[in-house]
């Protein structure tokens, strides 16, 4: 309970004290909150807390299971990293009592953190609805923090689409109450049965949450919103906020309606994830701006987070169950939270130093900002799922689950995704590593502490693999990495480079331009055509009417898939 309330109390205190104190209060709260969460995680999971002493169904219970604790701990670490990073960027300027952006940022950072903790532990579907709304209301102003017309527009798009998502979720929740007379997750888990009303409720809740998570093709709001926000805010939005609604999908599928969700519906969910991985990765590769590239990479990574659903199906019981796949999904989420936050921070630092973030004009950055480029590279390695990152262990768990259930096609998707991720990371690094004749002078000094905070998060994402390996007793990393693992890592990088050479808009000199190899020319032309087609499809899907029609269509698709099981 303290872990949930501490950020809110901090936010209220920061609001009351204002000015410079908001930042101080926020940093103190972050440190205290991290301590509380660490203590809770140390004491172990399985805690149940009855708020007000009232037991469900009348009262509300908080349940800190292993999933919740892992997520809370990860979020606390990322919040600390972002907090340290933001100390330089969101500082009240000397001579002013209070400035808008820092004041708003620190309060909202705490509010987002508190809401996420609540999403992780709450055991009541309606409380979860309120927590989700809190999350949205705190996230939207962060998108528009710089106040330009374009960011305001993306904030409004985000807000309205997210509101549609929450209405769907609420509708499903209330139908559930109408059938079962309770909103408590554990009680519902024991009572639910597949019938038309329940199926409607599950379809509505799922799709509503997917809209808030921005799973392809419901991602219209994410790229401009995440790319337009200030870097620290982007890190919060991409690394943390979308994990709230994603986690709720897990709660709904695994804990509330395990007996209702069906294999076809899980395949559908993962199918959307696969589409996200393929399309968004290619579109990311074609971006001209680094921050948009990273934002599209988020759209693709959200896809990974949904691959676990069919893999988690217990073939014998024909029911979704907790197991290796779920653990893998969780690891994937935590790995992405840390790596993506680090990547956005690195992109932000490069932007701050250069005054632009055009990928084609990144030459010389590696010499000017070596730590930042290193951060980007390490975060990229973590996103690709190369050892020893957390995502690598997650991938291993996915492969095990896919192998045992015979769903080989998801292995294929995972490998393709790794290659595509490698391609844009290689592309950016290739541009950044190009030597320039004159060293570039940063437009404004890059704060060392911010560089270190970003680097720390990137390293955390890599080190997560060791932590998970030890905690899960997998014993897949220490001394077990063979030459073939190294070989496959090299293959991934080389493959990525080849893909980058085929698809990218602007090729750095390292590739020697597209026209060097005569035999490559038709290949390159075909790749450019495919890339253009994907980008065009993405543009159409992100139009408002199309995206909202897709929302309804997805609801029907899930309804049908749930009935088909």
């Amino acid at each position: 309970m303290a872990a949930v309330m501490a950020p809110f109390v901090g936010a209220l205190a920061a609001f009351a004290l204002g000015g410079r104190n908001a930042q101080r209060v926020a940093m103190l709260t972050i440190l205290a909150g991290l301590g509380i969460v660490a203590a809770a995680a140390h004491s172990g999971g399985g805690l149940v807390y009855l708020l007000g002493g009232w037991a469900p169904p009348l009262g509300i219970a908080l349940r800190a299971d292993g999933l919740a604790l892992a997520m809370m701990l990860a979020v606390a670490v990322v919040v600390l990293g972002i907090g340290v990073y933001a100390c330089a960027g969101f500082k009240t300027p000397p001579g002013e009592r209070e400035a808008r952006a820092p004041f708003v940022f620190w309060i909202l950072l705490l509010a987002i953190w508190g809401s996420l903790n609540l999403v992780f532990v709450s055991g009541d579907l309606f409380t979860l609805y309120v927590a989700l709304e809190l999350l949205t209301f705190a996230a939207v102003p962060l998108v528009a923090l710089d106040g330009s017309a374009e960011t305001l527009r993306s904030a409004l798009r985000y807000m309205l689409y997210a509101l549609a998502g929450s209405v769907f979720y609420l509708l499903g929740t209330m139908l559930t109450y109408g059938v079962y007379g309770t909103l408590d997750i554990t009680l519902l888990g024991a009572r639910v049965a597949a019938n038309p009303v329940t199926v409607t409720a599950v379809a509505l809740m799922t799709v509503g949450l997917l809209a808030k998570t921005a799973l392809f093709p419901l991602h219209l709001w994410l790229p401009p919103a995440h790319a337009g926000a200030p870097p620290a805010a982007s890190a919060v939005l991409s690394g943390l906020v979308i994990k709230g609604s994603w986690f709720l999908v897990i709660r709904v599928w695994f804990d509330v309606f395990p007996g209702v969700v069906t294999m076809p519906s899980a395949q559908l969910l993962a199918g959307l994830g696969a589409a996200a991985i393929i399309v968004a990765n290619v579109v990311a590769l074609r971006q001209e701006r680094l921050k948009l590239l990273v934002a599209y990479s988020t759209v693709a990574q959200i896809g990974y987070l949904f691959l676990m659903f069919p893999l988690a199906f217990d073939a014998g019981a024909a029911e979704i169950g907790r197991g290796g796949a779920l653990t893998g999904g969780l690891l994937q989420a935590i790995s992405h939270a840390t790596a993506k936050a680090a990547m956005f921070m690195a992109a932000g630092l490069a932007y701050g130093a250069l005054g632009h973030d055009r990928i084609a004009a990144l030459a010389g950055v590696a010499r000017a900002l070596p730590l930042t480029v290193l951060t980007f590279a390490l975060a990229g390695v973590a996103l690709m799922g190369l050892p020893p990152s957390g995502a690598y262990v997650a991938k291993k768990l996915f492969f095990d689950a896919a192998g045992s259930s015979g769903q080989w096609w998801w292995e294929l998707v995972l490998d393709t995704g790794g290659l595509l991720t490698a391609s844009y990371v290689v592309l950016v690094l290739a541009h950044a590593l190009v030597r320039t004749d004159a060293p570039i002078a940063p437009r404004k000094p890059v704060p060392r502490i911010a560089e270190l905070a970003a680097l720390a998060l990137a390293i955390a994402s890599l080190a997560l693999g060791f932590v998970a390996d030890g905690a899960l007793g997998l014993d897949a990393l220490w001394g077990k990495l063979t030459l073939s693992d190294l070989w496959s890592a090299v293959l991934v990088l080389a493959g990525g480079a080849a893909i980058a050479a085929a698809f990218a808009r602007d090729l750095p000199q390292i590739f020697g331009g597209a026209g060097r190899f005569a035999f490559g020319r038709p290949l390159r032309a075909a790749a450019v055509a495919v890339g253009g087609a994907f980008a065009g499809a993405d543009g159409i899907l992100r139009r408002w009417p199309v995206a909202s029609l897709a929302l309804l269509a997805a609801a029907f698709a899930f309804g049908a898939a749930l009935l088909a099981g």
């Binding site: 528009a144 109450y177 055009r358 543009g539």
Partner: protein, 112 residues
């Protein structure tokens, strides 16, 4: 004749549909905000019908969903307020306020 809960339940279903239609096709964001409120009211009337069905213990309705409704109404008000404030600010900064598709977040990169 239909009983009260079913009547208003069906009315709620129709309201959700009407609101969704407007939410999709109307380009003016303020109309989308109104549409959101219509969808929301549909959901709330549905909850009201559920509460009405659950009337027992001397009360005309189940107090738990009715209490949730009050919370829901306040949250919906806050959502509308934030969205309207965003929209008005956008109207000051830009000529067009529609959301049909987004322009790039920054001017496109200059050609080399």
């Amino acid at each position: 004749m239909m009983d009260t809960a079913t009547l208003f339940g069906l009315c709620a279903a129709a309201l959700v549909g009407l609101g969704l239609y407007a939410f999709i096709v109307n380009p003016q964001p303020l109309r989308k905000i109104i549409a959101f409120n219509v969808i929301g009211s549909g959901v709330f009337v549905l909850v009201g019908a559920v509460a009405y069905r659950g009337g027992a213990a001397g009360w005309g309705g189940d107090p738990v969903p009715q209490a949730l409704l009050i919370t829901g109404l306040v949250v919906a008000f806050c959502a509308s307020a934030l969205a309207i404030a965003l929209l008005q600010r956008l109207a000051r900064e830009a000529e067009s306020v529609t959301l049909a598709s987004d322009a790039p977040a920054a001017p496109p990169a200059t050609p080399e």
